[in-house]
Symmetry: C2
Subunit: 209 residues, 2 copies
């Protein structure tokens, strides 16, 4: 595995890599797989798949295809999944609680190691082995537990404030579930899962058929 440090990766490529990666585990594993077969299983074109992978190096072998095990390792490395990530939940409402109980991330190396809330009623309770802590302890805990990612599941009206507090506590990347566009320093990595926007896309699609 010899991954090129391409610095101009269109960001749209990355979720496709995740999809390729997932497919490699779902398929009966013949030792080799071609871009054509990956195409059939993902719906992306074979050319696009080859192009996407080529951003990072030459992993295939002409006439034969890609070695499945090697490709798994390669994409795992590209996506940063070859290490453990410590995650915290910020806001233990319905969604925060659900994420505390969700084990789907764990398989890929994301472990929820802490949860924070501002509600005295909730602080001190334990959910799925995780004790809910006061947000005032965030800086200390982020340091002690080496937390890299915050899952922001607070109500929209306090999301900006909670995000700033998380950043001040040392969190460098945030998965924002609140229906609010966060304004944060450029060095903070943010992804936004905006369910309201998504359900409105669906409503748009249904409305104009």
């Amino acid at each position: 595995m010899n991954i090129k440090k391409a610095d101009k990766i269109p960001s749209i490529v990355v979720p496709r890599l995740s999809r390729y990666y997932r497919i490699l585990f779902e398929l009966d594993s013949s030792p080799l797989i071609s871009s054509k077969v990956l195409s059939e299983h993902t719906g992306f074109t074979a050319a696009q798949i080859r192009r996407d992978l080529a951003y990072f190096g030459q992993f295939g072998s002409p006439g034969r295809g890609y070695n499945v095990e090697e490709l798994k390792k390669t994409i795992k490395n590209i996506l940063g999944l070859d290490r453990a990530w410590n995650v915290c939940v910020i806001g233990t409402g319905n969604l925060g609680m659900a994420l505390l109980g969700y084990n789907g991330f764990k398989d890929q190396g994301f472990e929820v190691v802490a949860a924070f809330d501002s509600d005295p009623e909730k602080i001190g309770k334990t959910v799925n082995g995780i004790k809910i802590l006061s947000i005032s302890e965030m800086a200390k805990v982020v340091r002690e537990k080496n937390i890299q990612i915050g899952l922001l599941t607070v109500p929209g009206r306090v999301a900006q404030q909670a995000a700033e507090n998380a950043v001040n506590s040392g969190i460098k990347s945030i998965m924002n579930f609140a229906p609010v566009h966060l304004k944060l320093p450029e060095n903070v990595k943010v992804r936004h899962i905006d369910m309201t926007v998504e359900i409105e896309r669906l409503s748009f699609m249904i409305s104009r058929e």
Copy 2:
């Protein structure tokens, strides 16, 4: 309000409309708003905002900007939010339960009116006023309650099957939360909220700074 039936809307435009729409409610409402001001609040360029809106007609007034109330109504109409949508939750695990308790969709006209599960332990229980029903009742309930949208929150391994069952029960559009690409008839509208892909994007971003 005179909305053009433009048939070639780039699908990327739609989530931006949602964002504009949201901002209109968040801002102190002067009667008019310019693409420049919308730009400052959303981060999209003014040219892009004007272009996006122009796909659907001429809503602005040169030299003055857009009438806020009219623009709200217009986007509401474009997104199909000027009516009620009946929604069901399919799968009452952690996430399904969270969505049953989530009221954020209601404001935009999406009401959860039913929940389904296959687990006899759960069937019959009531959560947030919604009784959990057997999936075998789905066809009947979808018809009776006029359900248009299914929120698919079952485990990945049964997602395809559950989705097919939903479609056979009359569901025409699905918000898929399972980490699986669904293969469904073309006329079924699907949006995919893929948390695994999203957290892997974050991991990618952190890994290569």
